[in-house]
Structures are given as C-alpha cells and as structure tokens.
Symmetry: C2
Subunit: 118 residues, 2 copies
DNA sequence: ATATAACACAACTACATCGTTGTTTGCTAC
DNA sequence: GTAGCAAACAACGATGTAGTTGTGTTATAT
C-alpha cells in the first residue's frame, strides 16, 4: 500500500488549514516529548508525567490535544487512562524533519574551513 | 545517500526544540500557501503576493521566516527579490501529512454506514 | 457511605505571533 | 540628483495558546 498522496496543485484552502493545524499540533516541545515517550509503548498519564517532568494538568491537556487530533488513542484501565500512539506516521514525520535538520547542518559544516569536526 | 536518520531514544532537549520549531514554522496557513506557490518555481514577492492575495508586508515577513529557517532561498534580481524552495523535503513532509489526514478520513469513513460516498 | 487516587475540565495570567500601518532602504530610470 | 518602485524593517493591536491554580468526576478501597 504505497501512499502516493497526489496532492492537488493549488492546494484548496480547507486542506491548507488542515495541514497547518496538523503541523502546529506537532510543533510543540511538550507534545513532542509525550510522543517520544509513547514511542516505547502505551503509558498512563502518571507515567508520562513522571517521564517528562511536567504537571498532571499540563500533560493531560496536551494529551487531549493529541487525542482530538487522532494522533494518540485513549483507553481507560480502572482508575488510569492509558494513552498510545494511534498514528505511527508521526515518527516518520519527525525522522524526516531530523533528516532535514541534518542536511542543513551538513551544509553549514561544508562552509566552514575545518570540515566535519570543529 | 539514504537518509536513515537514526534518532536517539530519549530525544535530547535541544533536538526537541529544533523539531518543534521546524513544525511550528511550517504550521502556518500563509507559509504553506507560499511554499505551495513556490512549487511551480521561483517567484518574486510581487508574484507571490498576487498569487496568494495578501499584503506585501505580510508576504515579505513570512518569507523572512522561511528564509531564516533555511526552507527557501533568496536571490536579488535588480529591484526584485526572487525566492525559491531550498529544501525540497518540505513537500515530502506535506505529502506525509496529507497521507495521515487521508488515513484518518478513511477510518472515519469506515465507521459510517454509507461507505465512501455520503 | 467515605476517603483517596487518577484524570479531566475551567478560569486565569503571561507570552508569542499574526496581520496591519507607517516608514526606510535599495535599486532603476529619467 | 530626483522620482518611483520593490522589498524589508519597526511598532502596534488583536488573537491564540502554554502553563498554572482550583475544582469537578470517576473509580477503587476501606
């Protein structure tokens, strides 16, 4: 199942907004930390809170944003709320961004006299 | 040169910030429109302004953001400033996002009785 | 039933950023 | 030089959102 997302040429306004929203949601340090933590598997709010070091309310809030965006899923287990990655694509996205960052650094590096080191 | 961006497991704080910034920069409707317009090739501020329908100052400002992020490049041609895509990776990113959106829509679609239409 | 724990919701403050208005810079033409 | 155009810069108001504080809400345990 290849994802050959043939995108229309002048992007329709609605799609622009959707894409922007998606990027904006991921473009938050706290949410990236949450997604990164969830990479190891599902976790409760408590565990995420401990892993990241943020207030319970803040973690819950950001998880709510990710949940409404369909990026994570939620499951109730007794007294706990267990969150998990629902859309693995986000990691490919992050890897892509990391690749881009790396390319930029390499380009900057090439401009310096010292080469790779220094 | 395959970009196998092996990302460290707990993402270092600096990298988190960089990734977030990158996403945040792309996550703006106006900037997405600019990038979309530049997909056809380099263009002056005037042309972009006309294509998108925004004020000169606003277009210039957003282009400045994209330029500082290294996503577009700038070239002076007489009285004009000609911008072009510097990092083609952004389109793959957008396609990825579109793919994710499409998957979500399909999932929602599957939940509806009518199937694909309606 | 009561107490406690885990999580979510609501109101609020602080801060960032979008878009506008006004101005400045840099180039071309006369 | 002066006039005129393209683009960038600067300051401002309005809006959005991150994080905190305070308060429900739901489930477990005694």
């Amino acid at each position: 199942m290849s994802t050959i997302t043939q995108v229309p040429r002048p992007l329709p306004e609605q799609l622009v907004e959707l894409i922007a929203e998606r990027f904006r949601i991921i473009g938050e340090p706290m949410r990236i930390r949450l997604l990164d933590a969830l990479r190891e598997g599902e976790a409760s709010v408590q565990e995420l809170q401990a892993a990241i070091g943020a207030s319970q309310q803040n973690v819950s809030k950001h998880l709510g944003v990710l949940l409404r965006a369909g990026i994570v899923s939620r499951r109730k287990d007794g007294n706990f709320a267990v969150y998990a990655i629902a859309d693995d694509g986000v990691f490919e996205l992050c890897d892509h961004v990391c690749g881009g960052l790396r390319r930029q650094l390499e380009n900057l590096d090439a401009l310096l006299p010292g080469g790779t080191s220094r």
